[in-house]
């Protein structure tokens, strides 16, 4: 492990990679602040750039920097104008925006910067400890277990989908899996479901799909509802940057708890930064007593520190399943996984052994990224915030243009643009109907791998007996089924119980 860390240090501290971390953090922060462009879309935009770099560790370092920067930039717009640019920073605006309105914008931004730094750093330390342990277990995995693991990943996503949305999330996952079957068939790569179109033979491009699912609907929403993320009154009152000693004492335990909780939530496939930030906020509000609890939602520094710490720790945590098992824990890491595959790196248990420099360089650059973010944010906050005052008449055309050019330069194919617009309109309608879109993308990315592993396992064992003969496969499949069935069962029981009480009276 020490050898690996040294190798990682060597790679991460090369001039090129240091510059890439700084560039990634800067780009991520700048674009993440713009309402409507979350880490998912920014990373999707950056992928062609990353792929052209060619060196996988450099590309991953750049993308990880962008990821951190985007989450961070999202909190800036949440705090200043109550327009979370990223789902993971919605909870930040609960207390951050009230603070900004009380004239404590500077303090709020500082607390956000410091707690993100703490969350990210603790997360990276935990990642170093956890990832090797997880990956030794993962080495026992064969194609049968991989298939079962993908099933667990897909069902975990559905399980976290929120009340009344499990069926919708599952349906979206199936759509994603169906889209993944277009192109070439498993094992023998004959054309499949291409409807005779040559452009479809390589399947749907995942950059196009990611743009269509996330960036385009967001931009169209901004057009439909001008009140949403209206960019007015940006940096008017950014003063009082300092944080007092008492305030540090108040938030220290919150930061400690949320770093660990956030990391653990991030490790679970399907959870991710959004859920970590909401859970962090909810837990801290429940733990707080009396006046402290009253202050939540009205500008409490604890209420700001909790989600900020948790979402950064979760971002780091979501790299554990990605790097050690090849399972993306969130939509964003799903895009990262796609980028890795495009760079000819197969994330999974072999990554640490085959490409230790990539593995450790990424972890080391997480530390560097966190430090860079802190340095960037504290002095630059007042200036950065001015970007938010770009009028929407200029902002929206450029967002649309960036999504289109992102899809175009990936394939150099105009059909891709028509596909993008078509899929984007479908995705907007789906969002209107309250369907979650992340499961679709995760299904799409896991679909091909799942089918290939399943096909391999079936052909090796000449049937589906491996599902119950291999203990680890069986256990994983049971976990997968439980993840879907248990929440539904618990809700039904709660409902029945409620009904029973009502009738009993």
């Amino acid at each position: 492990m020490l050898e690996g860390i040294l190798l990682g240090l060597q790679t991460a501290f090369s001039i090129q990679n240091l510059l890439l971390v700084v560039a990634g953090c800067l780009i991520g922060t700048l674009i993440g602040m713009l309402p409507g462009l979350g880490p998912m879309s920014i990373i999707a935009i950056m992928i062609p750039v990353a792929i052209t770099i060619g060196d996988p560790s450099a590309a991953l370092i750049l993308l990880a920097g962008v990821y951190y920067g985007a989450i961070f930039g999202g909190s800036t717009s949440s705090i200043l104008i109550n327009a979370p640019g990223v789902a993971g920073t919605v909870a930040t605006s609960f207390d951050g925006y009230p603070m900004a309105r009380q004239g404590k914008a500077g303090k709020a931004l500082t607390i956000a910067a410091v707690s993100s730094f703490a969350g990210g750093t603790v997360g990276a330390i935990l990642l170093m400890g956890f990832a090797p342990a997880l990956s030794t277990v993962a080495l026992l995995f064969h194609s049968a277990e991989y298939f079962a693991l993908m099933v667990v990943g897909l069902s975990a996503i559905a399980a976290f989908a929120g009340t009344g949305k499990v069926a919708k999330a599952l349906m979206m996952t199936v759509i994603g899996l169906i889209l993944a079957t277009v192109g070439e068939s498993a094992l023998f790569n004959a054309p499949r479901f291409t409807m005779g179109l040559q452009d479809l033979q390589s399947g749907f491009s995942f950059v196009t799909l990611a743009m269509a699912l996330f960036a385009l609907p967001e931009a169209l929403y901004l057009v439909l509802d001008p009140k949403r993320g209206s960019s007015s009154g940006g940096s008017a009152a950014i003063k009082e940057l300092g944080v007092t000693r008492d305030e540090i004492k108040t938030i220290a335990p919150v930061v400690g708890r949320q770093s660990i909780q956030g990391f653990l939530i991030g490790v679970m496939p399907g959870a991710g930064a959004t859920i970590a930030s909401f859970l962090g906020y909810a837990v801290e509000r429940n733990i707080a007593k009396g006046a402290d609890q009253e202050a939540f939602g009205k500008g409490s520094i604890k209420g700001l520190a909790a989600p900020e710490t948790a979402n950064n720790a979760a971002c780091t945590g979501s790299f554990v399943p990605l790097l050690t098992l090849g399972i993306p824990g969130s939509g964003t890491t799903a895009i990262l996984l796609g980028a890795l595959i495009a760079l000819n790196v197969n994330p999974g248990p072999r990554l640490m052994i085959d490409n230790p420099s990539i593995f450790w360089a990424v972890i080391i650059s997480m530390y560097i990224g966190n430090v860079v973010l802190l340095i960037l944010n504290l002095p630059l906050i007042p200036y950065i915030a001015r970007l938010l005052t770009v009028p929407r008449n200029y902002l929206i055309p450029f967002i649309l243009f960036f999504t289109m050019i992102g899809a175009y330069i990936g394939q150099n194919n105009a059909t891709e643009l028509l596909l993008l617009v078509g899929l984007g309109v479908c995705a907007t309608i789906l969002r209107f109907a309250d369907y979650p879109l992340a499961p679709l993308l995760i299904g799409f990315i896991l679909g091909g791998m799942m089918e290939n592993n399943f096909a391999r396992a079936v052909n090796l064992t000449d049937g589906i007996a491996f599902m119950y003969e291999r203990p680890m496969t069986l256990a994983l499949l049971i976990i997968g089924v439980l993840l879907i069935v248990l929440p539904a069962y618990r809700r039904r029981r709660a409902r029945d119980l409620q009904k029973g009480v009502a009738q009993g009276d």
Partner: protein, 160 residues
């Protein structure tokens, strides 16, 4: 019936078509004796898709906590207040851009797209919008073509 149920109904139809296409999928001669066929998973998926879509259609509307999608929520009852016309015009502009990008060339098509969409959104100060669009286009063209080395035809068909 709510929009989400209509979508589920449409998805049932899609699943049926997809299932039929998988069922009639032409197998290669040597594939016929294999255990796992290229259309095995599609068949399973079409069945699963129908099941999940039916669940959505048949279950009464459950109360959602709404917490997780505070960013994504959009109020259907306010649909009339939304600027649907603008959104549709923008989608039209994107389709035009997709069709025109190659023949018209990157620089002209992109500048026109940026100015046009700005105009649709209500921007009338062309003396600002056009230079901004030109500079933005130029920077992106330079980045993509020169820095990344991805070919984008800059000029219209009759000039290059």
């Amino acid at each position: 019936m709510a929009l989400d149920k209509w979508i589920a109904v449409i998805f049932i139809v899609i699943s049926l078509i997809y299932g039929y296409a998988s069922y009639t999928y032409p197998l290669l001669p040597f594939e016929r004796n294999m255990v796992f066929l290229p259309n095995t998973m599609p068949l399973v998926l079409s069945v699963l898709g129908i099941i999940f879509a039916l669940i959505i259609v048949l279950t009464p509307k459950a109360k959602t906590d709404g917490e997780g999608d505070a960013l994504g929520s959009i109020n259907m009852s306010q649909l009339r207040e939304y600027k649907v016309g603008q959104a549709l015009a923008l989608i039209g502009a994107m389709i035009l851009y997709a069709v025109a990008l190659r023949p018209v060339g990157f620089i002209a098509a992109t500048t026109l797209f940026l100015v046009g969409t700005g105009w649709i959104l209500g921007e009338r100060k062309l003396h600002i919008m056009i230079p901004v669009a030109l500079v933005g286009t130029g920077i992106i063209w330079f980045l993509v073509e020169q820095a990344l080395g991805i070919f984008l035809r800059p000029l219209p068909w009759f000039l290059s």
